[in-house]
């Protein structure tokens, strides 16, 4: 959910753009992180743990904890909490540890 009115802050959002989450088209704003756009769209589960397959979500939001690794435009292990959203980006849930090309 996005905050529209705030007593102290004003949010200057970029242009509205489309991106894809597991093939589904979603909207976000240019300049924000992929994690922010997914969160605003109500997506809380970003992946599953390797061995126990437990759901994983956003935890630190500043690139420290690796809880939010996803495949972005074919590249695995992207920390989506610090990666900026771009128009047409393909964001996918990662299976396993990912491979180097």
């Amino acid at each position: 959910m996005r905050i529209t009115e705030h007593p102290i802050l004003e949010f200057l959002r970029g242009e509205e753009i489309s991106f894809f989450f597991n093939g589904q088209e979603l909207k976000g704003f240019e300049g924000e992180t992929i994690a922010a756009a997914l969160h605003a769209a109500g997506v809380k589960v970003l992946g599953h743990s390797h061995t126990m397959h437990r759901p994983r979500g956003l935890f630190c939001a500043i690139g420290n904890c690796s809880s939010c690794l996803m495949v972005v435009d074919g590249e695995p292990n992207i920390r989506i909490c610090v990666e900026t959203l771009k128009p047409g980006m393909k964001v996918e849930t990662q299976q396993g540890k990912g491979c180097l090309k």
Partner: protein, 367 residues
């Protein structure tokens, strides 16, 4: 082979300590490069909407993000300071070369002095299902809310009644989110009463001697069981309460981000009062590795106000050791030391002081 960048002083981390260090050193005439892994400098200050305490010298009365903008401006306006954003320091080597990754490139920097101001990371606590989506560090909630303008959910259980727990709870309320309760395992509220009172006046319970027994939910948090603790911090059977919340926010402290100090072979020590392993350093913040200084949370978790003064002190000292500011540096150093002891004069500061005494006692690095 990539070219090596020569610089007098390299600052790792562009938060309150790093930016203060950079402008202090540059004001004395030294050339400074700041590495910041984020796309924008300012560190966690840019997420702070509350007004700071302290004295005018430490920007009391200004909100955190305003102070952040001021520090960024000071560095931008100083021709001796260069800031590389989206750049992460990777290692500090025996020959003094520092490597970094920036925009997909492997970079090498050859500084004369290094100031490590990497900050801290959030602590986790153990309870069943603490890995469920919907459980966040308090800093993550601040980032989502105050940078991106997105709320994490509808109803929050806040764990920890230190200043961060209290301030982030109040910020959530300002953003229209309900706080089910703030729980604190200790028998008393750790943060300032001025923050606690604002929250209590709004009807939010602050439950001391309470902890979380478990979180539950299928794919993400649907609720939490909390319970009361006795005087030995043991759960009291039958005191459990079920809170329907979709967010659990952890404000249970920070750990210094000291990987670079360990890697650079600084002598380290575990000091509980400073929140973890910290590099042994002298009064002027130089570690056991000559020419490597620390400032801010990496040298012991405190607040942004003292991080800024520590940054200034490290910056002055690094520049002075290179021959800059011979006439003014000693006076500036003394002023910074006085400010630090003023900031640490309160009850919270006593703990820090004990930690620093503990750190310097056996370190063999005391000036």
């Amino acid at each position: 082979m990539p070219k090596v960048k020569d610089i007098e002083i390299l600052v790792v981390g562009g938060g309150p300590a790093g930016l203060s260090a950079a402008s202090a050193a540059a004001n004395l005439g030294a050339g400074v490069l700041v590495l910041e892994r984020d796309g924008k400098p300012g560190g966690q200050l840019v997420k702070q909407t509350h007004k700071f305490f302290g004295s005018k010298k430490q920007y009391a009365g200004d909100r955190g993000y305003q102070i952040g903008n001021l520090l960024i401006e000071q560095c931008e306006n100083n021709p001796c300071v260069e800031v590389w954003t989206d750049t992460t320091a990777l290692g500090i080597y025996e020959d003094g070369v520092v490597t970094a990754e920036g925009q997909g490139k492997h970079l090498k920097i050859n500084p004369k002095k290094v100031i490590v101001a990497t900050g801290a990371s959030e602590k986790m606590i153990a309870f069943p299902n603490n890995d469920l989506p919907g459980i966040y560090g308090a800093g993550a909630v601040q980032t989502l809310m105050n940078v991106h303008g997105i709320v994490p959910g509808h109803r929050v259980l806040m764990i920890g009644a230190g200043n961060i727990g209290l301030i982030v709870s109040y910020q959530l309320m300002q953003a229209g989110v309900e706080i089910a309760a703030i729980i604190e395992a200790a028998p008393t509220i750790g943060g300032y009463l001025v923050h606690a009172s604002k929250i209590r006046r709004a009807g939010v319970p602050i439950l001391t001697s309470h902890t979380i027994s478990e979180a539950y939910g299928q794919e993400s948090v649907e609720g939490a069981i909390i319970c009361k603790l006795d005087e030995n911090w043991k759960p009291i059977l039958g005191s459990e309460q079920d809170l329907k919340v979709d967010v659990i926010c952890l404000a249970v402290g920070l750990s210094p981000l000291t990987e670079l100090c360990f890697q650079a072979d600084c002598q380290m020590k575990y000091v509980p009062e400073l929140s973890g392993h910290v590099p042994i350093r002298n009064e002027y913040l130089e570690t056991t590795r000559p020419g490597l200084y620390v400032a801010g949370d990496v040298s012991g978790v405190e607040e942004a106000s003292s991080a800024m003064v520590e940054g200034r002190l490290a910056g002055i000292n690094a520049a002075y050791s290179l021959g800059y500011g011979e006439d003014v540096a000693p006076k500036l150093q003394a002023e910074a030391l006085v400010e630090l002891s003023e900031l640490r004069a309160g009850p919270a500061g006593q703990k820090t002081m004990r930690g620093i005494m503990n750190l310097m006692d056996k370190g063999g690095a005391v000036c």
